[in-house]
Amino acid sequence: MSSPTGRRVARGVLAFVVLGGLLAACSSDAPDRGAAHAAAGPTDAELRDQGGADGTTLNQGATAFAQGMEALDSQGRRDFAVGNSFFNQNWVMAPSSTVARDGLGPIFNAQSCSSCHFEDGRGQPPADDDDPERGLLIRLSVLDDDGDPQPHPVYGNQFQDRSIRKVPAEGSVQIDVTEEPGTYPDGTEYSLGAPTYTLVTPEGKEITGIVVSPRVAPAMMGVGLLENLPASVIEAQADPDDADGDGVSGRPHMTTDEDGKEVLGRFGWKAAVPSIRKQTTEAFANDVGITSEEHPDQPCTDAQAECLAAPTGEEDGEPEINRDKVDKIEFYSRTLAVPARRDVGTPDTTAGQKAFAAIGCTSCHTAELKTGSDSEIPALNDQVIRPYTDLLLHDMGPGLADDRPDGDASGSEWRTPPLWGIGLVETVNGHTRFLHDGRARSIEEAILWHGGEADGAKERFEDLPAKERKQILTFLESL
């Protein structure tokens, strides 16, 4: 936290920065990214329909994240229903009478997609040791001599804290939270809860020599629209060397697809995954222990004999989830509509929206993007969407760093998460836990955790009068 003197200095330059930000905001909130209204700015209807004209639902209740896009045809509605069913239903251990849904584990984090993405929404860290699975999992690695992450010889890349009978789970996660008090320049006090994670074996022994990356399940809606953004649209926002000198230097996370071709990563907290299909099959393999054509191996390492010996749900050479079911879950995920914004155009949300841009939040949380034209699902094409993300990697500073590199992303880089729907998380999921591990207990805390490239925007937020800070929060809650 800065000293009082430091604060005064910061405030001395604030007027200039805000003015600059305001000027920039005019161009950044009405960008030239293929949107139709470079001069006029978005209309209220456009601000409301965050998922575009065809990808937005007016539902603002407990199922606001679980709605299919309205434009689906008869077959589309059926496929959506089937995908939804497989997203929701628990997998059970093999062998069972439920042939289509067996093969859980042998080790796993969750029994179904929906146990972490409840109602297609956000997970949260457990409240205490007895709290059931809510959607936080731990990736882990050991660093080799070059500092590169390698799978742990016993636990692999992910810590599975649950297991089927007769197979030991990998252990449990202990979370200790230290309160870190802080003060706004106006004297308002706050406190951030800084978590540390200890992995413990079933025998109660601490696992050492590892780097861990705790991650909560993000909300699902709108991922089809994000997938259909042309790579060029995302890459055009990059400024890896900070050529414009604004302190923000987003860069795309380039990765490779199954054919070894270089592709843009978009999904996951570090944008390491290029497609919904890959994200889906990886989550099935690692989180639920369900094999697919893409991931035919059980989540066991060579050191886990009971895991390797356990019965599987594979039959007649078919993986535990077949291609047709993956197709339907992929379709379902792609066609989940984005909830409409509430309270568009009220004095507070309008002021908050302006201030959000003015202090530089939209440098990364890009307000408006336009999807491509090539999806086989018409509702995803040519949509002007307002996801409030650039899908780029940003260095978020040491406070948020997990110190575990992932693909090309460093231990302190994170993908800008979309903000659409953020104000409905409480309605849908009954909590307001944000950031990659759910450490923030409110949207305000999430802002205050920002560091690194976002330091400037965070400080400008802190420097705002309380009323304007509140307006920004009111705006975010309306998304």
Partner: protein, 409 residues
């Protein structure tokens, strides 16, 4: 599940739109007889609701009477179930078990047609305390509640260490805890505890009566069954009270805004038809061919559920029900647009008939498992498409009357 607030917003928004369009319409009529613009004017007039306030109020009142009457009958049937389950638990025999099963089936027949009252933030499923998820959630992961084949120690009932005492609170808290298929309460929990897993190809589950006498945790199972049944009765009573013509709180609220009420009626019909019934309850099972994906899989009662839902959709529109008199929604639509009314009436009737006709092809389970080109599957696919089309028609009828009807579930 629930969208009261949005619907009101949408209604407000379309009123504004209607006003704006209306103004444009006025302007255009001054500038000559451009037929396209005149059409706009006509649409704008319709948008303000084709029904008079009196018509909307009459339809809403009759519907509210129907809701109360049909819920009251459901409560009566469920109390019979409660008393038969009490008798079964006190003296578990094949006969008392069969009596309890028969009353479960009878109570389901009463409940099924009431599902059309969902989807509008009414007492059954409002987001604050609507008990729908506690009453009728499915599909169950059976092993969450009790033993299953290959896993004799599964479930809350056999978890004597983790759940030392089976109480109402334990059962309520467990519902949907940690996953959407972790269902611990409601119709299907009772169904599972009466019938057991359906492991046969051609009949319902065959839970032995010894599960309630000599089997491990028999008393805990009986306690569980008693608690969930009592809970179901209480939940249904709570919903019914809200619609009571003598001081029902929700009834008063519902009738205070007749246009919203008509929107809600149509929304329940459309969303159940195109979304819940066509999609979740039939299309998924047709696709997976898995009996776990059928609504009442333990008792093989799914086809009756389908017919009851379709009947409920029809009934919400016609209000034809014993003890209910008055002007139905169908009656008032007939007054403003007879053709529209007749078309929908025909569709509703045809879909009930189509659903009933499926019975000649066997149980729901037998039909979904039959060959892809079997007559039964073809008919069931046809029913899915027709129910989707029916939902679209209900939304279109709403639009023609000036109501925006969402089919989301």
């Amino acid at each position: 599940m629930t969208k009261h607030r949005i619907l009101r917003q949408v209604a407000a928004a379309s009123a504004v739109t209607a006003l704006a369009v209306g103004l444009v319409g006025c302007g255009s009529s001054d500038s000559g007889s451009d037929s396209g613009k005149q059409e706009t004017t006509t649409t704008a007039a319709a948008k303000e609701s084709a029904l008079s306030p009196e018509q909307a109020e009459a339809a809403a009142t009759t519907y509210a009477d129907l809701v109360f009457a049909s819920y009251s009958d459901t409560v009566a049937a469920t109390k019979q179930l409660q008393s038969d389950i009490a008798a079964f638990v006190a003296d578990p025999t094949d006969e008392t078990l069969q009596t309890a099963k028969d009353s479960w089936l009878a109570a389901r027949d009463a409940y099924g047609p009431t599902e059309v009252y969902r989807f509008s933030d009414g007492p059954i499923d409002n987001p604050d305390d609507g008990p729908e998820g506690q009453i009728n959630a499915w599909p169950m992961d059976e092993a969450y509640v009790d033993y299953v084949e290959d896993d004799p120690e599964a479930g809350i009932i056999n978890d004597t260490a983790g759940v030392p005492e089976i109480t109402r609170d334990v059962i309520v808290e467990a519902n949907e805890e940690g996953g959407e298929t972790n269902i611990s309460t409601g119709w299907h929990a009772i169904e599972f505890l009466l019938w057991g897993q359906d492991l046969s190809e051609d009949g319902p589950g065959e839970r032995p009566v010894t599960d309630y006498t000599t089997a491990p945790n028999a008393e805990r199972r009986a306690q569980y069954l008693t608690e969930v049944t009592d809970l179901l009765v209480e939940d249904l009573e709570g919903v019914t009270e809200q619609w009571d013509p003598e001081g029902g709180e929700y009834r008063t609220e519902f009738l205070a805004d007749p246009d919203q009420a008509v929107t809600d009626i149509l929304r329940g019909m459309g969303a159940l038809s195109a979304g819940e019934l066509a999609g979740e309850r039939i299309a998924v099972a047709l696709d997976t061919k898995e009996q776990e994906d059928e609504h009442s899989c333990f008792s093989d009662n799914t086809l009756a559920d389908v017919i009851n839902n379709a009947t409920g959709i029809q009934r919400a529109y016609t209000a034809e029900y014993e003890g209910v008199d008055g002007t139905s929604l169908s009656d008032v639509v007939e007054e403003v647009d007879p053709e529209l009314n007749q078309d929908l009436l025909e569709q509703l009737e045809a879909n009930v008939a189509l659903a009933e006709s499926l019975e000649e092809f066997g149980t729901f389970e037998e039909i979904i498992r039959s060959d892809d080109d079997s007559e039964g599957r073809k008919k069931m696919n046809e029913l899915v498409e027709n129910l989707q089309a029916q939902g679209d028609a209900i939304a279109a009828l709403g639009a023609a009357l000036g109501y925006e009807v969402s089919l989301e579930i």
